[in-house]
Symmetry: C2
């Protein structure tokens, strides 16, 4: 198994791609730990966008706290189903509540987005683990609010919402909290970035940190 490939041909493509990525961004990742380097390489591999080597920012405790949570098979919570669909090698549970009837009701009652309501729903149902937000800035803000209030046990956050409205600001805000986090500066980010980061961490948690 290497970067999701499950056939010989798939493996060869993934391997060659990783070599190309290294040649393209090697100078930019030189100061990162082997694990951080591996995460950034996988993001660039998944997006074919070298700019992510500059945009991806992790707090110094992000890898350690994330791997600890994954080794304990704690929950992974995603903002949208597309992100959940990309996570398929984890032995713990991976949940997305955006289409849950109670979440839809909660969103309407409180006039918040369904993505934000889904975070609240998870908090109310004893969530403990890693939050992966690939799309909705409103979900990222809700997480910060819930953690601030002591209502949610978030071990780390992959916060890479995408878009021209709110996304960049939401990511700057999470940097100011104490939550271990990976973000992408500016408007860019999205599902493939989120999925690459969490799948890379799952791989690291199986191999162990160097």
């Amino acid at each position: 198994m290497f970067m999701g490939a499950s056939t010989k041909q798939g493996y060869e493509i993934a391997h060659k791609s990783r070599e190309i990525v290294r040649s393209l961004i090697g100078d930019k990742t030189a100061l990162l730990s082997p694990e951080e380097k591996s995460i950034v390489e996988r993001i660039v591999h998944s997006t074919a966008d070298v700019e992510y080597a500059d945009l991806t920012i992790m707090t110094s405790d992000f890898v350690l706290e994330s791997v600890k949570s994954l080794k304990n098979e704690q929950e992974i919570l995603t903002d949208i189903n597309m992100v959940r669909a990309g996570i398929n090698k984890y032995s713990g549970s991976v949940n997305c509540y955006i289409s849950h009837p109670k979440v839809i009701k909660l969103a309407k009652e409180n006039e918040i987005t369904r993505a934000a309501a889904a975070m609240q729903y998870a908090a109310e149902n004893d969530f403990e683990g890693i939050v992966v937000i690939g799309n909705a800035p409103t979900a990222l803000y809700k997480i910060m609010e819930l953690v601030e209030e002591g209502m949610m046990d978030v071990k780390s956050v992959i916060g890479v919402p995408v878009g021209f409205v709110g996304a960049a600001d939401s990511k700057e805000s999470i940097k100011k909290t104490n939550i271990p986090s990976l973000i992408t500066s500016g408007p860019k980010g999205g599902t493939p970035v989120a999925v690459a980061a969490i799948n890379s961490l799952i791989g690291i948690s199986k191999k162990g940190i160097e």
Copy 2:
């Protein structure tokens, strides 16, 4: 309903984002039809990456053939589950066979990727409709081969595989066929691009072409 938003707050974000996108890429989409413009705008909205206004290329029959197929509620076939998870407003069926036991067997026997085997499986099961490839160049090559051999009835293809190995070449190859297509030039592309394009087409098929 506007670009997947289902709450007041979600709608407002989507609307404001679309205005920003128009201001950023308006000069580059000036020569497109209203439908083509709408597709490109949605791709840029979903990726927050204005470069897609330059990279996205559609054949002149792409919108018409795609909308015709969607109106007839023909099948949508995706290469990976992540792409399928992003398509949720279609009245016809949306399928992905990459995890089907017969596909896994077919891939092993023929030493091809599971994504390519999934295309073959669909062809053998009377597929008729639109193929949406967000990740695997090998799936795009397989489609071309099957159409060439008269083995698969593909009305149009969204071919936006991503990556440094094979993706760009596979997309250049499909341009040389007669299959109505949307591609992104170069290594970039991926799930959000594929999902934005097909969801935009689904929206257009409900409203009708201007």
